[in-house]
């Protein structure tokens, strides 16, 4: 399995606060292959963003604490890196786009100025001399603005963030995240703050650009429709645990875990018979300080059995590429 870009092994992260200990990630296993887009879905507060921040080395410590596990990137464990070493991985190794394009840009500098920062970093890491060649940097800024479909890049780069709409700013963020040609890009709900039409455009753009720079992507979203459009493989998280992991078609056609099934049921169908009402999942996401013993989903599960409150099954492969963590499939 050498074609893994990144491999997260048994990663457990807790937040220690005065109110108690919150378990944000519980033995998370996740691997992403070269040029693969992995969708990470789950309800709010299930640990999706924590996983991304952990990979980036941006967890606020304290209160966050890594209890166990490792994050292997290019054959080394990122968790052992110092801040200085991490700085060198960010940008050219792993980059990230955020949910809020409105606040992700420095209001005091022009778009071109901020994009050239990334490009300069990349050039400097490749070749010390190139980074100082302002003409080259500028040319690449213009090229990237063109690539993210911004009209009139020459004048666009002289503009300030507040002059732009959310969609345009998110395009710039995408350019910034990909301009350094990272091998992995983390996208933390990049389309959630945008309206549906813009969302579709941004998704198409991300898809084609990612292919162009041959980056792998961890695409975090709570929106199954978005993930269905972009991901090759999907991992479903609940209460800090990965519940199911499968290729995108497989997970939509044959969801195994009761939680995944409920998620699909709560999702409006495009066509077919109009149901009287959408299914909902009874109860709510558990407080991370008081995760139920056994399977964290069992109090809300339709198929709950006696052993569910004590046994905590790990991910198990049921068919090639399809893993699920549920006692129903342990035989």
């Amino acid at each position: 399995m050498t074609d893994h870009i990144i491999q997260v092994n048994e990663l457990s992260v807790v937040f220690e606060t005065l109110q108690g200990r919150y378990s944000a990630l519980d033995k998370v296993d996740l691997a992403i292959n070269k040029s693969e887009v992995v969708g990470l879905v789950g309800e709010s507060g299930c640990g999706k963003s924590t996983l991304a921040l952990a990979i980036m080395g941006l967890l606020p410590r304290p209160p966050a604490k890594v209890l166990s596990g490792c994050i292997m990137f290019n054959g080394t464990n990122l968790l052992t890196y110092t801040e200085k070493e991490m700085e060198k991985v960010r940008g050219t190794g792993i980059s990230m786009i955020f949910q809020e394009p409105l606040t992700s840009l420095n209001p005091l500098f022009t778009i071109g100025d901020q994009l050239s920062e990334t490009i300069r970093i990349k050039m400097q890491r490749q070749n010390e001399h190139d980074g100082r060649d302002e003409k080259k940097v500028r040319a690449e800024v213009v090229e990237w603005l063109k690539r993210v479909d911004l009209a009139d890049p020459e004048s666009a780069m002289e503009r300030y963030p507040h002059e732009w709409s959310g969609g345009m700013r998110q395009r710039v963020m995408i350019a910034m995240a990909l301009a350094a040609k990272p091998s992995l890009m983390l996208a933390d709900e990049p389309t959630s703050a945008l309206d549906v039409t813009t969302q579709a455009q941004i998704l198409t753009l991300v898809k084609s650009l990612v292919r162009e720079v041959k980056a792998s992507v961890l695409f975090i979203s709570h929106d199954l429709a978005v993930v269905a459009q972009i991901a090759d493989r999907v991992a479903v998280m609940y209460a800090g645990m990965v519940m199911e992991e499968a290729p995108v078609n497989e997970i939509f056609e044959n969801p195994l875990h009761p939680y995944t099934q409920s998620l699909m049921g709560a999702f409006p169908k495009e066509t077919g018979v109009r149901k009287a009402r959408l299914e909902t999942i009874p109860g709510s996401v558990p407080n991370l300080a008081r995760i139920p013993p056994g399977c964290p989903f069992h109090p809300r599960c339709k198929f709950v059995k006696d052993q569910c409150s004590t046994a905590r099954p790990g991910l198990r492969e049921t068919s090639p590429g399809h893993k699920v963590a549920c006692v129903m499939y342990t035989q």
Binding site: G93, S95, P107
Partner: protein
């Protein structure tokens, strides 16, 4: 980044709408121009030699001949106020500028890096804050001996911590903002994030406070002058003149009130200028 004509026009437009700021700028510009004029032309600029004693003309009330009256030694107070401008400018600007520099860097660094660095830097700042600024300045001033430069140095010791606090507070809130996170993710080194993202975004509240503070610095320096540490007679200095006139307040009010008004006007001018500056620097206000 190029400063294009549109930006300048916009800046002027924002300023034009703010009458008070224009008044403030007027005072500040007059103050600075006077200072330079005195530096270039010296005493020939003013109607009377500010240092020549003429006892027969002592205690004259303000008149057309002596706009601000004369003091106990018969020196023209208006002339003395004018020639004191560069000294007070030097005192005010250097105390505040050096404080902004030291405090800005220390505070931004402490706030952004956090943890132990923050703890150490801020406890050092606390030590300076714990001692009243004036007492500290007097102590240092006595140790250094008389002279304008020493007054500046003495005041600086207690002056910069306020700026360190201000910069730290700004850095703390900026640190959480997403564009800093985005810069980190882009692989920008910590040092560069502080230089490029923290300090520029932090500068406007500090700059506003600094302009308000220049008048204050002049006042503090004058206290030291009064205690015999700053400007040495016969050199004219505003604060010194206020305190010199204090003894004669009942029979020659102009001796301290009028130089005091000069300090007040300059301080107010910087204040209004600072307010205007804040509005101009705010990109939201510009729209």
């Amino acid at each position: 980044m190029s400063i294009d004509r549109k930006e300048i026009a916009l800046t002027l437009d924002v300023l034009r709408r703010d009458r008070l700021a224009i008044g403030g700028i007027g005072v500040v510009v007059l103050f600075i121009l006077t200072s330079f004029a005195v530096l270039i032309f010296g005493n020939s600029l003013v109607p009377y030699d500010p240092t020549v004693v003429n006892i027969s003309a002592a205690f004259q009330a303000p008149s057309l001949q002596h706009l601000f009256g004369t003091d106990n030694l018969g020196r023209d107070i208006f002339s003395r106020c004018v020639v004191a401008a560069p000294i007070d400018a030097e005192i005010g600007f250097s105390i505040v500028l050096v404080s902004v520099l030291i405090g800005g860097i220390v505070g931004s660094w402490a706030g952004y890096v956090g943890g132990r660095v923050d703890e150490i830097l801020m406890r050092i700042t606390d030590i300076f804050i714990a001692v009243p600024t004036l007492v500290l300045a007097v102590a240092v001033g006595v140790a250094l001996g008389p002279g304008i430069e020493h007054v500046i140095e003495a005041n600086l010791v207690g002056w910069w911590p306020v700026y360190a606090r201000l910069a730290r507070a700004g850095a703390l809130s900026l640190k959480e903002s997403q564009f800093i996170e985005a810069a980190k993710v882009a692989g920008l080194a910590r040092f560069k994030i502080i230089i490029k993202h923290i300090i520029p975004n932090n500068i406007s509240p500090i700059l506003v406070y600094a302009t308000l503070d220049i008048g204050n610095a002049i006042l503090y320096a004058s206290v030291l002058s009064y205690l015999g540490m700053g400007a040495q007679p016969p050199q004219a200095e505003w604060g010194r003149m206020v305190f010199d006139g204090q003894v004669y307040l009942t029979n020659a009010w102009w001796m301290s009130i009028l130089p005091g008004l000069v300090i007040f006007t300059v301080a107010l001018g910087f204040n209004l200028f600072g307010d205007g500056l804040r509005d101009t620097l705010d990109p939201r206000y510009r729209k």
